[in-house]
């Protein structure tokens, strides 16, 4: 009896599934392990700035997926005490070591990472900080030149949204909303 699926058909299926999967698997990814993540809290009594130069970012040009992660303990401040308080009292970085954004490009059709030029990328996703996940939408300016993406983005984080408790006595020292900016060059993976 002739088998239902012949030897030849089997190979066609194998090749076909490889061909179909290939574009997804091999879609170009861009990454950085040295993203500069900066935030500023401007309150009536005090200006607090934190900076971390080792954020991780990865973008999948095929699917438009964007992921970013930054170690909370890696932020440095002008004053050592700010860093202690940031980690111990506000971010509780031992319990919640990372800030993570997972999202995707919502205007992927308007962007071609393979072609040099300036693009405005809209990103939508979820920000997880201090154990709380909240939706976040932001835009990023991306300059593509010779396979390198230079990206920068600025967005606001309302600290109460992330269950970060600010005692009454320091309400005048810490802003309700913190401005975060991310800047980096992403290389091909």
């Amino acid at each position: 009896m002739e088998p239902l699926i012949t030897e030849r058909m089997k190979w066609i299926i194998v090749v076909l599934s490889i061909v179909l999967v290939m574009p997804i698997v091999s879609a170009q990814k861009y990454y950085s392990r040295t993203a500069r993540v900066f935030f500023i809290s401007e309150a009536p009594l005090e200006k607090i700035e934190g900076i971390n130069n080792s954020g991780y970012i990865i973008i999948d040009a095929g699917s438009g997926a964007i992921e970013m992660s930054v170690l909370i303990k890696g932020f440095t401040f002008e004053k050592a005490l700010m860093q202690d308080h940031f980690n111990e009292n506000y971010m509780e970085s031992t319990k919640f070591p990372k800030g993570i954004f997972k999202g995707s490009v919502s205007n992927l059709s308007e962007v071609n990472f393979a072609m040099d030029g300036d693009y405005t990328v809209k990103a939508t996703g979820t920000m997880t900080l201090h154990g709380v996940s909240k939706p976040l939408t932001t835009t990023a300016g991306v300059n593509v030149k010779g396979g390198i993406l230079s990206a920068h983005s600025t967005f606001e984080i309302v600290i109460a949204d992330y269950n970060i408790d600010v005692p009454k006595v320091v309400r005048e020292n810490i802003a309700k909303s913190v401005r975060v900016s991310v800047q980096t060059d992403l290389k091909k993976m």
Binding site: I13, S17, I58, A65, L81, D84, I100
Partner: protein, 298 residues
């Protein structure tokens, strides 16, 4: 028939593999970048560089000046006549400075026995996880003190060296969890001049101290210093202190009860006279305020 089954099986395996690839792709892009290769040092094991009297394993941060004003009131068993000791007070004013993340120096002046003191503290090992794993923090501390009280007996030959005291200490500690830190402080106190021949010039002692965090800004601290037997006059006691650290922005307030009058090592380790059982307890406080003198390069 077996050919047919094989084909089906290979399709299923293929589909599963494909599905898995796509799933991995969607869920875990970040994992492609690997783990962050960093070393995380344990921070804020104690709220300040003193537990109560004892040096904690903490150093003053690099470029930071820590001004300390400390009081010990009289013994609470003075009763209402002495307002439970509040009528008397001794004071120590001190300045600590962080030269680097590992090296701290400090000076101070105590009204008790009119003593000047200085210390140098170096962190040899730092508790860390990540790339470098280190279970403990280890510091060495050297302090010296000069007593400037007028000599009780002016007629005899009084040497300047008799005014000097030196202390060597090793601090071995660990932040066991966010809320609990503990340390051991083996110590040697050297006194050039002692009051009686029965007393040793060198006194060996071991301090133990710890803290439990009660809330983000409040912790309960205790320390106990055991003097090894037959070294000091029996009238001297082991030092026991218990207190709270309260943190408010740039200040740390330490409020405590202790049977030690002196706030420097040679005094509270080797010359504590108070007996907790008799109510010889001082209420006292240390106030620490930090100022950033040299800002770190960003």
């Amino acid at each position: 028939m077996s050919e047919y089954l094989k084909t089906i099986a290979s399709i299923i395996i293929m589909a599963a593999a494909t599905g898995q690839l796509i799933a991995q792709q969607e869920q875990d892009l970040l994992s492609l970048l690997g783990r962050e290769e960093t070393t995380e040092y344990a921070a804020a094991s104690f709220k300040t560089n003193r537990i109560i009297n004892l040096h904690s394993l903490e150093s003053t941060s690099s470029g930071v000046l820590d001004t300390k004003i400390s009081h010990r009131f009289g013994f609470v068993n003075g009763g209402p006549y002495e307002l439970f000791g509040l009528d008397q007070a001794t004071i120590r004013i001190g300045l600590d400075y962080g030269i680097s993340e590992r090296l701290t120096i400090g000076i101070g002046r105590s009204s008790y026995e009119k003593t000047y003191d200085g210390f140098i503290k170096y962190k040899i090992l730092r508790q860390s996880t990540g790339l470098k794993e280190m279970p403990i923090t280890l510091c060495v501390l050297g302090t010296s003190a000069i007593l400037t009280l007028k000599w009780a007996d002016q007629s005899r030959e009084n040497l300047f060296s008799s005014r000097l005291y030196h202390v060597g200490q090793v601090i071995i500690g660990r932040k066991f969890s966010n809320g609990f830190s503990m340390q051991l402080s083996p110590t040697i106190v050297h006194r050039n001049l002692v009051k009686t021949a029965a007393e040793e010039n060198d006194v060996l002692a071991i301090g133990i101290g710890g803290r439990i965090k009660l809330s983000k800004r409040l912790s309960l601290n205790t320390e106990y210093i055991y003097i090894l037997p037959d070294q000091t006059d029996p009238l001297y006691r082991n030092s026991l202190s218990i207190g709270f650290d309260i943190e408010t922005g740039g200040h740390v307030f330490q409020l405590h009860f202790t049977n030690s009058t002196s706030m420097i090592e040679k005094g509270f380790i080797a010359e504590t006279v108070g007996d907790w059982g008799d109510g010889d307890i001082h209420f006292g406080f240390n106030i620490s305020r930090v100022f950033t003198i040299v800002k770190p390069k960003s």
